[in-house]
Symmetry: D2
Subunit: 353 residues, 4 copies
Amino acid sequence: MIVIMKSGSPEAEIARLSQEFSSSWGLTSQKIVGKHKVVIGLVGNTATLDPLQLQELSPWIEQVLRVEKPFKQVSRAFHHGEASEVVVPTPNGPVHFGENHPLVVVAGPCSVENEEMIVETARRVKAAGAKFLRGGAYKPRTSPYAFQGHGESALGLLAAAREATGLGIITELMDAADLEKLAEVADIIQIGARNMQNFSLLKKVGAQNKPILLKRGMAATIEEWLMAAEYLLAAGNPNVILCERGIRTFDQQYSRNTLDLSVIPVLRSLTHLPIMIDPSHGTGKAEYVPSMAMAAIAAGTDSLMIEVHPNPAKALSDGPQSLTPERFDCLMQELSIIGKAMNRWPQPVPVLV
Amino acid sequence: MIVIMKSGSPEAEIARLSQEFSSSWGLTSQKIVGKHKVVIGLVGNTATLDPLQLQELSPWIEQVLRVEKPFKQVSRAFHHGEASEVVVPTPNGPVHFGENHPLVVVAGPCSVENEEMIVETARRVKAAGAKFLRGGAYKPRTSPYAFQGHGESALGLLAAAREATGLGIITELMDAADLEKLAEVADIIQIGARNMQNFSLLKKVGAQNKPILLKRGMAATIEEWLMAAEYLLAAGNPNVILCERGIRTFDQQYSRNTLDLSVIPVLRSLTHLPIMIDPSHGTGKAEYVPSMAMAAIAAGTDSLMIEVHPNPAKALSDGPQSLTPERFDCLMQELSIIGKAMNRWPQPVPVLV
Amino acid sequence: MIVIMKSGSPEAEIARLSQEFSSSWGLTSQKIVGKHKVVIGLVGNTATLDPLQLQELSPWIEQVLRVEKPFKQVSRAFHHGEASEVVVPTPNGPVHFGENHPLVVVAGPCSVENEEMIVETARRVKAAGAKFLRGGAYKPRTSPYAFQGHGESALGLLAAAREATGLGIITELMDAADLEKLAEVADIIQIGARNMQNFSLLKKVGAQNKPILLKRGMAATIEEWLMAAEYLLAAGNPNVILCERGIRTFDQQYSRNTLDLSVIPVLRSLTHLPIMIDPSHGTGKAEYVPSMAMAAIAAGTDSLMIEVHPNPAKALSDGPQSLTPERFDCLMQELSIIGKAMNRWPQPVPVLV
Amino acid sequence: MIVIMKSGSPEAEIARLSQEFSSSWGLTSQKIVGKHKVVIGLVGNTATLDPLQLQELSPWIEQVLRVEKPFKQVSRAFHHGEASEVVVPTPNGPVHFGENHPLVVVAGPCSVENEEMIVETARRVKAAGAKFLRGGAYKPRTSPYAFQGHGESALGLLAAAREATGLGIITELMDAADLEKLAEVADIIQIGARNMQNFSLLKKVGAQNKPILLKRGMAATIEEWLMAAEYLLAAGNPNVILCERGIRTFDQQYSRNTLDLSVIPVLRSLTHLPIMIDPSHGTGKAEYVPSMAMAAIAAGTDSLMIEVHPNPAKALSDGPQSLTPERFDCLMQELSIIGKAMNRWPQPVPVLV
């Protein structure tokens, strides 16, 4: 921690502060006297100190800068510089998420509509190579008058799709009161973008055992996102996957959000946790999904989440951000080319005769 | 609702869509045939329709535009173009928030630290003219390792301050599980910026009777903010105050957030709900608070929330965004000049002898 | 300047760097050895050093932080902590812009349309109390097909309005090739938001004598804005006024830009230059202009720029961001209330009989 | 163009407007009467109309929406739905930029420092497969005190590098006064991000013959960027390449800008112009460049611009965003894997014996 004093700070005040850093926090002060300003370096256990809290100590403090990162358990250094893996048991066997494993594809509809629809979608995305089915039972909606998801009954439909296909299930938790029954069905519990800093929810979901998918908030900095993940690890659950889903910027005319693919190399250098990219929410338009999915693989993502929605009765339908199963089949072929070039494509399982 | 078709859309598809709008939603279609594009106007009950849902009906749809606003109960029109008022009972008597009432000042520390501190602060801010004491029992903190508030015990201290001074209490609810005990102490329940779109929490707090202060999310559009308020009204609670506390922009070097004072005239034209401005979080620095508080009054705010923190043991202390009681006294004098010029300053209560 | 080394930086590399700082830039290095990291404080003449340039010196450097501000002549300290004033001669006498002078109001249309219109507008805004007429001869337009201003002929019309009313003229320079003829008419030369970092233009306009109004770029940080002003002062022209006109954020639905009034206290603490606020471009809607103009005065602005457009033939017309002369008259009455409360309203000049 | 009237608009006003649309602009009005609002569709030649201009016609107009795109010559439709190509003659032969051509790599230092440095860099990047050398003679710098480029003398050094290697030259034009001498050396003239809306410069550079690289402004919407390109085509120069170089968002801590790769599919659908991606400025850190360059190819970019800086005297040097020639060699190997998978990698030229 570095404390920059304002020009003209009295010597006595600097001495008082050094004394206080020592007596209140056991920190050693080292002083650098510049032409106009004095800078105090604090040596000791500063990781849990809040720069704003230190700044309150004196009106002569201009700025307090953190030299160490504020996160610990999620940091790459905490895992000795290595990537960690999140292993998720599914009926079809364990699936590994991580830098040293093949790309994992998650696919499915925005929300669970009915049994036929969800089971059929599950079959189609499984056939195309997905390992997980996504689908919302509880849906965060901007409007109180919009469809809020079928709730508990949709959980039953997800269970049916899981049984029919053996796919793992990813579904969003919005309310801690639903945690127990949701965890019975979900293989991975999703915390949505709007709840990324719902710290009460993070503490509760971090205290249970199912792996967690933590979506980045719409205007969350990378550091805030990692700190939200730190809440989960600090609560006891190390099985966390980070999912980028587009951030909010000044331009929303063509692409609804701005998919921030540079998080891939940035997160790789900062954390050991596996990375997922969601190009469907990231762009908001089906036609932009394929190229962003390709780019995500080339940039090194560990997994992809792609919205797929069947619409047998309305053959012309496209949906603003969902792919049809046919387009998804086709996309998986395209992705396999990049996936193989990157050595991240799953090997076909040999069929025993 | 207006549906813009892509150039070259087949006539048959436009006919099919018109048929579908009619049969599925009972909407009448009116067609405008332009040089390159056809535009379909939908007439009927479109308020609860989701533009994205309509867009899924055909790949030939370029865009769906909402002509009506998506919010209803919070809209100014719903209140016949008039401002509403929120009347909050406090031990010192009812306090009225609204466009036709004097400015209400809320003041107090970020978090409740101990009894002496909170009672003393309450006394000081009351003497200066505040009607409510703010103070956090549960604190949303970016880091799991930072002080999370004293929780339930702090609620007791707020009750003590309320009893000692007669001020109303505003404190933040982060977890629905704490609602009951928090509502015993709070006269106004605050929903913080990070929970503005925690829809589960909104539904629950909207279903109880205490007035609610809804802070704007850090990157929430005005429309999303009003829709969050709509959740509260739709759940049954009409006593909602909207609080602007700074938004996140590209520049965070000097002012931590960008206080968006233009929400005042914008909200005034859109909604009947009372408005509060929080220049302390809005700027993040005590020295910028006074001029932003002055500006907020001149722009027409109904109330102000200002952080005040006593620090008797550390006389030099200033705090990055909290005012000392002395500076707050002084600020109230300055505010009274603008408040009187705007005819929004409370009349001194005549003292009976 | 502070150099933070990565964890595990070799001692030899730190020694090599200290040697290089000394031999290449004559800087003394002071080392703080923390638990994990070493921090080097550089003492000496660091004002013109570029942190990025220093960072290139070693791959072991994690970050280089500037302790001193990068601007000099525009800094408040450069003017001994006092506000400066910009005195602009006009036919009606000198007008003073600055913290210790009454508020100066600039008004007029977006662009100069014809002589009758501009002279009539000048008369109306003068009668209401404006000291300067604004009006564009050269207009920056997003589309090459949109009206680009009447150019040189419009300059003649501005000269006519100046002669008819004695008002000072503010008009925008887009091309250094037009500087000479524009400077013949303009009393203040405006550099628009889109050219705030057109450094070639800044150097040329800074090298002439007319006062300059420097509008903030749509996504310019306060520091970048001050550095653009520094270009002007470094080129020799100290008569610079800074004009905030709204920044670009994620929400553009109701207010076209976000008027950042917190620049007023921030600039006050950083620079001695006078401040102008433009609520017309800042909000993009006439109905939001009055409350933002009131707020700007309460926050301490030195001047206001307000769009006024007469439209006698179309009596119903309002214009999205322009006020009619009638509304402007009325606004000036409202502003005088706040202006007087702030002691910033011009005294009426006694009329000699 | 669609005009949405406010609730309660008088019939007479709607009739007056329709009359005015017809008499002033020759537009036919078609009316849709909804439950609360009337919508007017304008049919005719609306492409060059400004929505804001229309909105000024009546205070009863709530909003004016453009149905047609505001750009014409840059639109994909203008080129019959096909991609265009920009062919640039270089000493080594013509280089083709476009969707149906192999990826073109541009590399070189931020600024031209001296002859040895620039010629050596040119040799190295040519050997690795680059077709163009980039290097700044005139440098836009935030600070007037920072190195502004060697100017005209640097142009001579670029000419020397061109002669020595046969590479094409890309260098930035900041001032129209330098156009002639810069065009003697440059094979492609770069307009930088800060000048994207310097319309005077766009008109002048659009009126000459050399191909133009138009960088996206830091906070420019895609539509503004395309309109800036429209200025160039409208001025007569069809050889324009669009370069994304990172946009400004709320998070600048790890990646300096946010590289917006979703522009690739968006631009592909909107325009026929070739696309370049600059991951060096886009991220601001050399270590993030490789994965973003890979991603750009997978997303379908037509070319890449990568900063390479040799530093033979300081072997440890890395530079915050520049690659060493060695790292660039290595990167080109990595890129070839993705480039080949995408069928966008240049075939080796057969050597004739």
